[in-house]
Amino acid sequence: MQLSGSEMIVKCLLEQNVDTVFGYPGGAIMPLYDALYDAPIRHVLTVHEQGAAHAADGYARSCGKVGVCIATSGPGATNLVTGLATAFMDSSPVVAITGQVATSFLGRDAFQEIDIVGMTMSVTKHNFLVRDLSSLAEIVRMAFRIAASGRPGPVLIDVPRDILLAQGEFVPGFSFEKENASTDVSYQQAVISAADAISNSERPVMLVGGGIKAGQTWEEARKLADTIGIPAVSTLMGLGAFSVKDAGFLGMTGMHGHKTANWAVSEADVILGIGTRFNDRITSDCSKYVQGKTIIHLDVDPAEMSKNIPADIMIIGDLRQTLNTLNDLFLQRPSVDFSAWRKKIANWRQEFPIEYKASQLNAPWMMKHMSENIAGKSVVWVTDVGQHQMWAAQHLQIGTPREWISPGGLGTMGFGLPAAIGAQIACPDKQTVLVVGDGGFKMTGMELYTAINAKLPLIVVIINNQALGMVRQWQELFFQQRYSATILSRFDFVSFSHACGASAVEVFNPSEFSSAFEQALQSERAFVIVANVETGDLVDPMVSPGQSINQFVR
């Protein structure tokens, strides 16, 4: 079959069951846009390429399929970088296709030529500059395979314009190589040592990270926790792997973790870390973190082993296999009595209850209220970065793995709105609710216009504290209340939303919020709630920076 390079790309996208792409056209990528014009693929035109990359990422995180974004050469490509870096840090499978100047112009600083492959090497799992048409189809297939396999991540394909236009032979079909299961002796021994360590422990805790969601192994993790009778805590990225309703789930751990969760981790004698990189937001001071503990680390990526904290037992490989093997081992062993440990945890739970104030409008109450009033709908919660993100993580009642999307690793303000658009498109049967700060909303807020054009019934809750709240919080606590560049003047979000074509209301108290949320749930188009809260509201709890995670500033 003779096809142009652009047509080959479209064919390859269809082979991969791509139904939606997010992008923005321009000179070098025009041939691909021409092929997309009558392809059975939905193209979502964003306002900015950063929006396209975040939307592809949000799409991928919400449904588990590879997200695809497209941009032109030069500025189009550079605008993708923040989005790719965000996907990279959170191991999200995204394929980016960029146009490039024609092969004969490469290296001459031609109009809109930029070395996007060089530029994105450190923020992609892999990237390609396509140098001849004959390798194009195989590169696209490889890109999808690399993005989705092992530890997922973004892959960029840079395609010169002449290759998009050239005609060549296209051979359909693709092979999927499955990664081999680990069977070597050291692996088996590590699994047995891990089981022994847990059997001999008194105070074990399972720590679940985003890897459980990337590897889609939450069922196995829950089953294992159940078999062992081990309590579980989660990182920001792992939220949803366990339901807040699970009796053995203690909540989020880390800098703004729940106190019970942080106490349990601090006092534990064994930590079973699964699909987590033991990031500094989780461990705070590393040496205090590991003191008196056996650390068992399960991850698909060998490079994570002992990178941030030294692990005593490392099990590298497919998480599903490891979790199942461990589960089988424990089923054969007599069960261990952790009742004293559970009692201790129950005491912390009593000591640190989570309380809500409804006297004035505040974010924790709103999170609880939304969770309780989502009216039986399946939901995808998306956040941006800042105080609202922590309030959402702490107080939303997250029950399933794919209902929580937050840019944990890179902490990218501006991620929220476009990612929510991607999620709402991937999951039309669910209600996507974005929780965002007034600062972060302004960064990519024009994508509201994208949500309107795509006819998405998105709910946007702007926690409007008229401040770059999280930075302001640190200034209040650690910089003698010198609020340098963090106080924002009033902005008319309602008029802005109306200008984009969205519905919007501003609320000042719980009852107004409650009726606005009810209205939003009925709305068929994007609905923005501007929730005004006190500038001085702080995120509680907060671990003293550089201390152990049971020492709280507040």
Binding site: H126, N127, L129, S306
Partner: protein, 92 residues
């Protein structure tokens, strides 16, 4: 501490840059580097580097993660080995 590794790479144009990028990004200092490309277009690279707080073990994991990298071996000493090895590879 110094360490020498022999890396075999598929000779894609970006392979070498990607490899060196890993050393730089993860804070390892390259002290010596020799490379050769043979007719079959695969590339051998011999690198001596000094470690920072991350161990050389860690670096090897990052290097192995690169899609273009075929094998990585720790070898004894750059100077004795390099010239002979690289010459042999080129004529192979």
């Amino acid at each position: 501490m110094k360490q020498t590794v022999l890396i075999s790479l598929r000779n894609q144009e970006e392979g070498l840059v990607r490899l060196i990028g890993v050393f730089r990004r993860r804070g390892y200092r390259i002290e010596k580097l020799s490379m050769s490309i043979n007719q079959a277009d695969d590339m051998k690279i011999l690198v001596t580097f000094s470690c920072n707080q991350l161990t050389e073990h860690q670096l090897l994991h990052y290097v192995k993660k690169l899609i273009d990298v075929v094998t990585v071996e720790v070898v004894d000493d750059h100077s004795n080995f390099a010239e002979r090895y690289i010459t042999a590879h080129q004529s192979a």
